[in-house]
Amino acid sequence: MNVAKVLDAKGLACPMPIVKTKKAITDLQSGDVLEIHTTDKGAVKDLAAWADSTGNELLKHEEENGVFKFWMKKA
């Protein structure tokens, strides 16, 4: 996957992963992929819901040693 930018949102609580994601994705071009790292458990459902409501596409997510990783494609 061709990642345009990696966002480190580890250690941030709700809703800051969403805030940081919104800020980071604003700077990208349509079709670019943002990789997001967070330790906020709520982000799994929150980022999926945010993608639904904004039209961005959550390509996949996975967990690795307590860090949740997401790949979001900008609409």
């Binding site: 809703p15 969403i18 805030v19 919104k22 819901a49 409501s53 904004t54």
Partner: protein, 133 residues
Amino acid sequence: MEQQAPSLAVILLSEDLEKLHAGALVGSVASMSGMTVNVFVTMNALKSFRKDSFENADFITGTIGKEMLAKKIPLFDSLLQEGKDMGELNIYGCALAMDIMDWQEEDMIDVFDGVIGVTKFLGMTQGATVITM
């Protein structure tokens, strides 16, 4: 894309830090999700938006509010500012309560878009989902 109400009205009444934070949290995320958000700050909630109250952390706090202050997490002012910066979120002080207390907009932390009456607010938020805290 899921169907979503286009507009959200958040009415902040209370000086409880948890209620201020929850209202700001919902409003800011709604704004970042593409909704138009209008926040009406009235009654005792206005006191918490005063510069002197805010600087002295003069809030009513419960268990979670105390921990929020101890951990120095970004408070409702930051959440509302993020909502303004990253979407369409407007914040208005209640003209009646401001008038009763003889408070001016410049007494308030710098997030307000104006001081308006409830009639104006209702006109701006027709058809909106309303959350009251």
